[in-house]
Symmetry: C2
Subunit: 139 residues, 2 copies
């Protein structure tokens, strides 16, 4: 017998915008989805919120940078609990743009802090056109 | 002072294919990225591995179903630890296809078990054209 068979299915509910925003502010790793020449791709990044927008850093030389300026992207954060088979996810859909150096706050603390090493001098802002979230309540 | 300032940046390394596969077999929630009329979108799903392919279930009526048949998709799994600021991610890029009912194993246990309720009778298979993984070692 699978352990999953002990459980009733969880109930999936839409979350209000305020709850989506609060949850997005509670984590520091999200996933950006964009399209390159081979189709959609999704990569984890460290991020911070700046008002209603999402900021993350990347290297000016990498594949994200080549495909993100003025591109439509999705940004997803989630948390799931294997034991209770519950959790939540928030998906932001929006437009990515490179933040000019002179617009960056002089206070480094307001910028995303990448966990990984490497040159990540390019700051990307995702300006949402939609935000949606779902919560999966335990069954 | 931010807690993050205590840390040296972690080291990002590529993972070999075998390690990617082992890690993909260790979790049950992944994220599928696809493109709809508004651009890329990414949604969490429960999944299982079937050989080198990824299987997940969805509702025949929803937005995933409308945009996935024969579509190019990305499928991502990851695990990160906030405290050590380390973790791993695996990204599968491939082609999605609907699995005909008569090809489904009669043994339900070999199918992905969705945590959420709802009618999820459509089984989607992602056949990879590339698999890549990265591990972020603690700094």
């Amino acid at each position: 017998m699978r352990t999953t068979e002990h459980w009733f299915p969880g109930r999936l509910t839409e979350m209000p915008a305020g709850e989506c925003r609060d949850l997005m502010g509670s984590t520091s790793v999200g996933r950006v989805a964009f399209v390159d020449e081979d189709g959609p791709v999704v990569l984890p990044v460290n991020y911070v919120l700046d008002g209603d927008t999402v900021l993350f850093r990347t290297s000016p030389a990498n594949t994200i940078a080549r495909h993100l300026d003025s591109a439509t992207v999705a940004f997803e954060v989630d948390e799931f609990d294997d034991y209770t088979q519950s959790g939540w996810s928030v998906v932001v859909r929006g437009t990515a743009s490179f933040v000019p150096a002179d617009e960056l706050a002089s206070d480094e603390r307001s910028l995303p802090f990448p966990w990984a090493d490497g040159v990540r001098t390019l700051v990307v802002r995702v300006t949402p056109f939609s935000v949606s979230g779902r919560r999966l309540l335990p069954g």
